[in-house]
Amino acid sequence: MNEQKSAEERMQARAPEMELIREAQAGSRAAFDTLVRQYEQQVLRLALHLTGSEHDAEDIYQEAFLKAFRHLGNFRFECSFYTWIYRIVTNLCLDQMRRRKTRREDRSVLVDYFGGEIDLLASVSDDRSFSNPAKELDRKLLGERIHAALEKLTPRERMVFELKHYQGLRLRVIGEMLNTTEETAKNTLFRATKKLRTQLAGLRS
């Protein structure tokens, strides 16, 4: 009874979005633009954290929303639009990660649109009026080690770890996005954490 009620509540909460999607499916560009604005930050956040490159994140954003626009007619409301668009983005990111592994690109720092390094930890700001350069350097090096360890996972392991640890999604939803079961997602997460622990042995937080 409770499950049915929460499913109904979820449906009601999604009603305005469903209307927007229907309008977009009927050809309304304004409706599609509104959908893009609702999800673009999440799409960019995920793509940027996975690829480490603003340029690649922008390419993935472009491909994902163009695909969504072309195939919006196939969306049958069997899942939330959020899951649907994330499925497109995760598949594009997986393709990109597999291509990088084939080319043996090794990127241990993030790069911005112009190829300059992004210091991630600069955005985790220290609001005191003076900074401790040695501590900042330690944090930066640690961040680079974590990033390098993540790059050594298989694309699928990296994706599951990203979606679970950094994006906070439920394993059931991760399974849906990756077209697999919750159980498989769980096993992949276990393998990923085991590998990361081996890579990062000896480091302290």
Binding site: D33, R45, A57, S123, S131, N132, P133, Y166, S205
Partner: protein, 328 residues
């Protein structure tokens, strides 16, 4: 419970996805198994460590740039023919009719099917004739012009297909459509375009104008809050623009924020250490005067006083260092 199962469940539990009953069994196992207890500590340590690679919030510039590029690509897509839109609408209606009684569904299917088959044939014939007529008219007409009278530019050619056994060729191309927007400097759309112009414009003059306008707004304290994106655009221009006068304008715009915003201070310090133009490095030293007691500023000044290629800059840095007591 075997340790192998426990170790898998430790990970699931660490991420809050273990069912209550299994969590209780795990707790009982951990109470009597030091090895698995250590395993749990290590999984929790990994979770904490992974936080050292945080998820960065995408900058406003990146989102704006991506959105603009997407808009251009969507504008370039051919619009769907009316019978494609009708087909989509029928598919949508069919999907929502799945909840209605079966008879109503069947009736709709029969009616829609008959209408589609019959009407589609007529529509396709008419569309074919209309397309042929339009092609004939287009041959006799000049190129479409913009409001200023110039012909529309072609962005790129996407495909060329020759009809078999024929002299006819189909060329698909995308057009650039020049646009214009007027508005006040407070208008978010104008601001967004200014931010894009500061990064994307080919012309130094356009980049300089946009950075100059944004810098003036920041110096006047208009809408230059951290989240607005203009400060970020100025920092990007200071760091990456190839033209020194653009970089100089960006530096002027950032001056009011060097005390309150650590990122601005770091951007100015970087300019002091790395900018190729001595005027900009000198201007950076002057801008840093309110925060010359800051430890990181003093470290950079110390380095510059020893290593800068310009003797005047080495001198000025030393003077600033000497003018402030060592410890704050």
């Amino acid at each position: 419970m075997r340790c192998k199962i426990a170790q898998e469940r430790i990970v699931t539990a660490a991420y809050g996805e273990l069912a209550d009953e299994q969590a209780r069994e795990l707790d009982q196992h951990l109470a009597g198994c030091p090895e698995c207890g250590k395993e749990r500590e290590q999984v929790l340590a990994l979770k904490a460590l992974a936080g050292a690679y945080p998820v960065a919030e995408p900058e406003a510039n990146l989102a704006a740039r991506a959105r603009m590029r997407l808009g251009e690509a969507l504008d370039a897509l051919p619009s769907r023919r009316w019978y494609e839109r009708l087909g989509q609408q029928i598919r949508n209606n069919f999907a929502s009719l799945m909840a209605t009684p079966v008879t109503a569904c069947l009736l709709l299917l029969l009616g829609a099917g008959a209408g589609l088959v019959g009407g589609n044939e007529m529509a396709m014939n008419r569309a074919r004739q209309a397309a042929m007529a339009q092609a004939a008219r287009a041959q006799a007409q000049p190129q479409p012009a913009t409001e200023s009278g110039a012909t529309v530019e072609i962005a790129n050619i996407s495909s060329i297909v020759r009809e078999p056994d024929s002299h006819r060729v189909e060329v698909r191309y995308n057009q650039l459509v020049p646009q214009r927007l007027e508005g006040s400097l407070d208008d978010p759309a104008i601001r967004q375009l200014l931010m894009l112009a500061s990064e994307n414009a080919d012309s130094t003059g356009v980049r300089g104008d946009s950075v100059g306008l944004m810098a003036a707004e920041c110096k006047a304290g208009h809408g230059c809050q951290k989240a607005a994106g203009i400060r970020d655009a100025l920092m990007v221009a200071l760091r990456y623009d190839k033209n020194e006068s653009v970089r100089e304008k960006a530096l002027e715009g950032l001056e009011p924020y060097v005390s309150e915003d650590v990122r601005v201070r770091d951007a100015v310090l970087e300019a002091l250490m790395n900018d190729g133009d001595p005027r900009i490095r000198t201007a950076a030293i002057n801008i840093l005067t309110p925060v010359e007691a800051d430890t990181s500023v003093r470290q950079v000044l110390y380095s510059v006083s020893n290593t800068d290629s310009n003797p005047h800059i080495r001198n000025v840095s030393r003077q600033v260092l000497n003018s402030v007591p060592e410890i704050q």
